[in-house]
């Protein structure tokens, strides 16, 4: 409630602020508009004054009775037009008014403003054009600038009205916009509150939303899907860990119970078996800590330019006796001279884990192959076997911690080997993928290659059969 109250107050302030901004903008527009109109009216008046002067003087110019002709014309105009916005005046060379009904002093020649009393007491301002005749008299036309005066008189009112209307429109538009936004966000807010309260399955309804609101809601929903997946996999991880520990712990307890009932000579071998179960449990925790260390970036990385040939030969030499003891053979198919930027300890573990998987999760007699190839800018390390392989549906699952192939017995390895290998590939900004080798399983690790001095030899490859 408090949240919504504060929200409304914020909306009110926003509406007033945008209303004022609207009003100021409209005042500026009004002032500029008035200036333009004023200028336009003035120039029209000047043109009209020049036009009427030339019309009056066209036939009297240079005649001997210039003054008399002009006076006659003025008188005739006064008779004809009782009310007019123009007044014609004639002054002699001494400045005495000869004709015309406006009490002003003779203005300077050309265009100027003149002040006069318009019947009552108040002064009016008019635009005048004065022309000196050949005999020295001054002919003046005065335009009573009523249009301009009216325009000036109207300005404050117009500006005030415009400002008030703008203020009103600005405030209402903002309030309307805020209302529409709030209405669309209310459901999002409600869903967010439910999720914060623990309902991770809740999603923002998108059917009543449009435009950017719909796009935003969909993005948020995708984010929530991802978060829910992560939480679920964490929960699965914990329950898998508990399940995986249950088996060796049960065996350990059985062995200890059995040992407590046995006579002295039979106890030692039982305790030795119990010790092995402890070692297995410890190995699960060691692997878990290692996985966490790599995944959270806590591993003190010794990243360096790492040529793979020696490292892979070393791993092949190390693992060959293990695979042979398992009844198979280990063949290095192809070994390109390539280098990566890597941590040797982690890359060793990656390869050892993949080859140990062959030795522990396939039937006796399964052989393994190992190859390192350069593929444009990438290095592809492949570990394959000719065992029974995995169903394609299981590929994504077995990379997860504590997940094993359906055929693999529990207690055979920590169940973290592939998860750690995959984490190491990701740690090196690479990827680990499983493929059907038909027969068998192939694990492809793709890492970025780096150029080294010995790169010219990268095309050469060797085949080395170890067993």
């Amino acid at each position: 409630m408090g949240y919504f109250g504060a929200g409304r107050r914020r909306l009110g302030r926003l509406a007033i602020r945008s209303g004022i901004a609207f009003a100021l903008a409209m005042i500026a527009v009004g002032v500029i508009g008035f200036g333009i109109a004023d200028h336009w009216v003035s120039s029209r008046i000047d043109t009209s004054l020049q036009y009427h002067t030339s019309k009056y003087l066209s036939d009297v110019d240079r005649s001997p009775n210039e003054n008399a002709d002009v006076e006659a014309k003025i008188l005739e105009w006064q008779h004809r037009k009782v009310l007019s916005e123009r007044t014609y005046l004639l002054f002699d060379r001494t400045g005495r008014r000869l004709a015309g009904r406006l009490d002003i002093d003779p203005p300077p020649t050309g265009l100027s403003y003149v002040r006069f009393t318009g019947g009552g007491r108040h002064f009016e301002v008019g635009r005048a054009i004065a022309t000196r005749l050949a005999n020295g008299s001054l002919f003046v036309v005065v335009q009573h600038s009523e249009a301009a005066a009216t325009l000036h008189a109207l300005l404050p009112v117009v500006v005030l009205v415009i400002s008030l209307v703008s203020l009103l429109m600005g405030v209402s538009a903002t309030l309307l916009f805020a209302h529409l936004t709030a209405k669309r966000l209310a459901e999002t807010q409600e869903a967010a509150a439910a999720i914060a309260a623990g309902d991770l399955g809740r999603r923002i309804p998108t059917d009543r939303l449009d435009g950017m609101f719909a796009v935003q809601a969909e993005t948020l929903n995708q984010m929530l899907d991802r978060m829910e997946d992560l939480v679920r996999s964490q929960q699965l991880f914990s329950s898998n860990l508990a399940h995986d520990l249950r088996t060796p712990l049960t065996r350990l307890r059985s062995l200890l119970t059995q040992a407590s009932r046995e006579e002295q000579p039979a106890v030692a071998p039982l305790l030795e078996r119990a010790n092995r179960e402890c070692a297995f449990i410890i190995s699960i925790f060691d692997a878990l800590l290692r996985l966490a260390e790599i995944e959270t970036g806590q591993h003190p990385s010794a990243m360096r330019s790492l040529p793979l040939r020696t490292l892979v030969e070393d791993v092949a030499e190390t693992m060959e006796p293990v695979i042979v003891d398992h009844g198979g053979s280990l063949t290095v198919d192809r070994l390109d001279d390539v280098a990566i930027s890597g941590d040797p300890d982690l890359i060793n573990q990656l390869l050892i884990n993949l080859l140990e998987n062959v030795a522990t999760h396939t039937p006796a007699g399964t052989s393994a192959t190992l190859s390192v190839e350069r593929d444009e800018g990438m290095v592809v390390i492949t570990v394959g076997d000719d065992g029974p392989g995995l169903a394609k549906a299981d590929f994504a699952r077995v990379i997860q911690p504590f997940e094993r192939g359906r055929a693999a017995p529990l207690g055979n390895g920590s169940g973290l080997g592939l998860a750690i290998a995959s984490a190491i590939a990701r740690f090196h900004r690479g990827s680990l993928d499983l493929e059907d080798a038909g027969p068998g399983l192939r694990v492809r690790v793709t890492l970025a290659a780096i150029d080294t001095a010995g790169d010219a030899k990268s095309q050469s490859s060797t085949a080395l059969v170890l067993a």
Partner: protein, 226 residues
């Protein structure tokens, strides 16, 4: 050897002290950091087993004290913090070795032997000889009397390490660290399989000096190389 054991957990402390006594070593127990500092003033041990987390002065501070006041006494740091990062931290402040809990007393004793005799160990890379058994680095061969056999790189390094530590127990984890430079524990019998190949090769030249210590590791017996 006389060992100063600095460990606050009574069960673990008792396990270490009785285990070392069983193996013929004397041990003094200190339950706190300050007790350890006092014990060091009273008597200089051959080596120290130092728990990293202690109730008063922590193990890292005790380690610094040992290095500043007692010079080069070999120290093995013991800790429940077993990641590579923690291990590096321990070695960087001067520990000679770092062992993560849980551990085996045989492993602890073997590592103590290794750090105490480190000064006496033969340098790496030099041509190695134990009795009539000799390693030839240029041809990667093991030579025994008239016979000789080619070893692959792993077998060569494995035999070289055992020869450098002749008549002393070398555990599997020590071999993983020293011969393979692995900071992780493989799940298969990498050591056993490679050791079995090495022994088969040595038997071909009528030399069989390597003895398996069940559950613990391997010892290369110099008398069998005569």
């Amino acid at each position: 050897m006389h060992i100063l054991v600095v460990e606050d957990d009574p069960v673990i402390a008792d396990h270490i002290v009785s285990g070392l006594s069983f193996l013929g070593h004397g041990a003094t127990l200190a339950r706190t950091g300050s007790e350890a500092v006092d014990a060091l003033t009273y008597r200089t041990p051959d080596a120290v087993v130092l728990d990293r987390m202690l109730p008063d002065i922590d193990g890292m501070s005790v380690m610094r004290h040992i290095r500043s006041d007692h010079g080069t006494i070999p120290v093995l740091m013991l800790s429940a913090l077993g990641s590579v990062k923690h291990r590096i931290e321990g070695l960087q402040i001067g520990a000679d070795d770092y062992l993560a809990k849980p551990f085996d007393v045989d492993e602890l004793a073997a590592r103590l032997h290794a750090i105490v005799r480190r000064g006496a160990a033969r340098p790496e890379g030099a041509g190695l000889e134990v009795g009539m058994l000799r390693l030839d680095p240029s041809s990667h061969r093991a030579v025994y009397r008239e016979g000789s056999a080619v070893l692959n790189r792993k077998q060569y390094s494995l035999l070289a390490h055992l020869m450098r530590n002749a008549d002393r127990l070398v555990t599997r984890s020590m071999l993983l660290e020293c011969v393979w430079s692995y900071s992780f524990s493989p799940t298969t019998n990498i050591i056993e399989s490679n050791m079995s190949r090495l022994r088969t090769t040595l038997q071909e030249i009528a030399c069989d000096p390597i003895e398996t210590q069940r559950g613990a590791g391997y010892v290369l017996r110099s008398q069998r190389c005569a």
